[in-house]
């Protein structure tokens, strides 16, 4: 990979959790082999992508529809992952609602009691520096997360404590 380049990879897949095993393998290998993120982060992004896609499959795109994953790696700078759904799912949700839900669950006092609901906050949120929820003009939702490579907090090994939420 050349200096000062961005690599963009887009994957479109049917709304079916069956494909996620392959997407996880791809994510792990792509990050291990083409970025400067350490291996631990390759596994973490694997989970982030899986959780984002599972949410899109479950809430955003109806069966028979599709979801789109875009990876943008800016060399020595950051990795951005965007997952888009089509907004055709039965349980579709607007960016504003999702952001509200995210903020509620980020509260330290929030208790996770059910089987579900940990993915967005405890995995995606903890392992990214920025998270952005956007309604797509053509319908559906786009969730974008960004992780900076030169994050001084990497060295501490501590969980990420502060982040930005951007809502468009």
């Amino acid at each position: 990979m050349e200096e000062n380049t961005k690599t963009k990879i887009t994957i479109t897949l049917p709304t079916n959790a069956y494909f996620m095993s392959g997407i996880r393998d791809f994510t792990l290998n792509m990050i291990k082999n083409t970025t400067n993120f350490e291996e631990k982060w390759a596994f973490r992004f694997q989970s982030v992508v899986d959780e984002l896609c599972n949410n899109a499959i479950e809430y955003g795109s109806s069966p028979g529809s599709e979801i789109r994953i875009t990876f943008i790696y800016a060399k020595d700078d950051y990795l951005e992952i965007e997952v888009q759904d089509t907004g055709t799912g039965k349980n579709r949700i607007k960016a504003e609602e999702l952001k509200k839900l995210y903020e509620e669950r980020r509260e330290p006092a929030y208790q996770f009691t059910g089987i579900r609901g940990r993915g967005l906050v405890k995995i995606i949120g903890e392992w990214s520096d920025e998270i952005k929820f956007e309604d797509r003009p053509e319908g559906g939702l786009s969730v974008t997360v960004k992780k900076y490579l030169k994050d001084p907090r990497f060295k501490s090994g501590l969980p990420q404590k502060t982040e930005q939420i951007i809502l468009n």
Binding site: E2, N4, T5, K6, T7, K8, I9, T10, I11, L13, P14, T15, N16, A17, Y18, F19, M20, S21, G22, I23, R24, K40, F43, R44, Q46, S47, D50, E51, N54, I57, E58, P63, G64, A74, K75, D77, Y78, K99, E103, E107, P108, F112, I115, R116, G117, R118, G119, K122, I123, G125, E126, D129, E130, K146, Y148, P159, K161, T162, Q164, I166
Partner: protein, 197 residues
């Protein structure tokens, strides 16, 4: 469906080991986890359980939700729950969701078995005869509906890859470095919401 295998071994009347191998994900967890719930039906009081994760390669947030639920059911009956031999990526995800605060992780199955098999030292003072308790039944959680595809999916997802030269250097969004910590939900001058977890 992604491959995963769960088998539950009865080590002794008060200890079961759930051996989990493969990948626990959205495509299989609702079905496969039932094997553990079944093994806990009519569980005696004080039953301990070890989740042997030596051959577990991946688990998603829903799997973690089920583990948390199983932990609650076992400890409600006075039992203990441990995990053993988890790979670093599994331990990492268990850690980030806080599950390692509930369940002790052991390096090996032997170490976990030894730890859970330690007999309870009887109290010095005589204790009253325990009153017979009705058998407790572990109930299974309501199954989560799994979205079924109506149309057979395309055989291969499409992958497009492009490498483009960077345009203007992308300025990373300002990292919060000031000593003053932003308050939850605080709106900053650039319209972003910043908060501390």
């Amino acid at each position: 469906m992604t491959e995963v295998n769960i088998s539950v071994e009865d080590v002794n009347p008060t200890l079961k080991v759930a051996h989990i191998s493969g990948q626990l994900d959205e495509s299989n967890v609702d079905e496969k986890i039932q094997g553990i719930y079944k093994a806990l039906e009519n569980a005696p009081k004080g039953l301990n359980m070890i989740f042997d994760m030596q051959n577990l390669d991946y688990m998603n947030s829903k799997s973690i939700g089920y583990l948390t639920d199983l932990y609650g059911k076992i400890t409600e009956l006075g039992g203990k729950v441990s995990i053993c031999s988890a790979k670093p990526n599994i331990l990492d995800i268990l850690q980030v969701v806080g599950l390692t605060q509930l369940m002790q992780n052991y390096e090996s199955l032997d170490a976990a078995t030894t730890a859970l098999a330690v007999p309870v030292v009887p109290a010095v003072t005589p204790t009253p005869t325990p009153v017979a308790q009705p058998a407790q039944v572990v109930t299974q959680p309501a199954p989560t509906p799994v979205a079924q595809p109506v149309v057979a999916p395309a055989a291969t997802p499409t992958v497009e890859a492009t490498v483009t030269p960077a345009q203007a250097p992308v300025a990373p969004v300002a990292e919060p470095t000031a000593p003053a910590q932003p308050q939850p939900g605080q709106v900053t001058s650039d319209g972003a919401y910043k908060f501390e977890s």
